[in-house]
Symmetry: C2
Amino acid sequence: MIALPWKDVEPAKIHRLFYPQVPVVLTAEFQGHIGGMPAIWCMPLSFNPPLVGVAIAPEHATYEMLIGAQAFAINWLNFSFAKQVGELGEESAKGVRDKLSTVGLSFVKGSLTGQPMIRDAEGVLECRLHERHRIGTHELIVGEVVAASATENFTEYWDFSKYKPILYAGTEDVGRKCWVFRSGIGEKTIVPLKHQV
Amino acid sequence: MIALPWKDVEPAKIHRLFYPQVPVVLTAEFQGHIGGMPAIWCMPLSFNPPLVGVAIAPEHATYEMLIGAQAFAINWLNFSFAKQVGELGEESAKGVRDKLSTVGLSFVKGSLTGQPMIRDAEGVLECRLHERHRIGTHELIVGEVVAASATENFTEYWDFSKYKPILYAGTEDVGRKCWVFRSGIGEKTIVPLKHQV
């Protein structure tokens, strides 16, 4: 019997095996309130119709806005905005009129859904809520993409010499607990968590 | 009115906005046949129970094995195996006794599911089929993780100074069509497609 090079990974850490992952920012507006939250569990689900899935915990205020609006946007930001993306994960949208502005981001409204799209986004999808499935602790939101846009850094594919995606790599304790974001070229940004755990 | 920096992305290219993504290799055995295929649309869906989702086109032979077995494994390989991962995407498992061996990979059987796990994997999940949803062109396979393992390169998180994940970044035409894989530190590997399109 050949010894295997593996050891057990405890259940609470399984999701970390998927790192690094590119976080998107999920944005939604309902009744005049603008929400935005980073989401790491997000991927395409179908080519035609173009459907995308994002799994989020239903406790989020932005989730409630998304359900209220029956629509939402998905935004990709350059690595230079890693700090803002981290900060959006630190506060709730509850009771805030425009959460995006609290981290210095502005938005424009999508022409097909009216949903907020981050002005500095490299890429953005306007989605209509297509279906949703409760799966364990999270809800899988399936959106139909009704419009997709990107900067000139995307043509056939991303030009990664210009668009530097954020690669989420977990947290790190350097005196205080921080998010860790890496660029695709070895740079690293750490964003301190406001609420130390 | 401020001009927006975006242009439209055609529907067939929407999934490329999600790049770079870490491909996993989905493995399954049914009736003595070993299948393996790269999957890029794969993410966690729930913390507790630990559930993961992988969206694949049901035409794949490995899909049929997975459904037959009602179980499967998810494998993460180091960047040094990018070529093998690409090659697994180039051929079908149909009629092949052990597809993994055709690209030089060996496997061990998971103790809980009996499913094949790639011996050189950095991380591996044993999953039982939990539920599945047809969503557009693809089927979302939801697996309950019954065992998770990783090399010593994973403790609290991945040590990216040792584990170099594969970052799938699309294809490129350098005389012939190639897959493009990037490491997290700016290295790039291109794998020629066997079947030129």
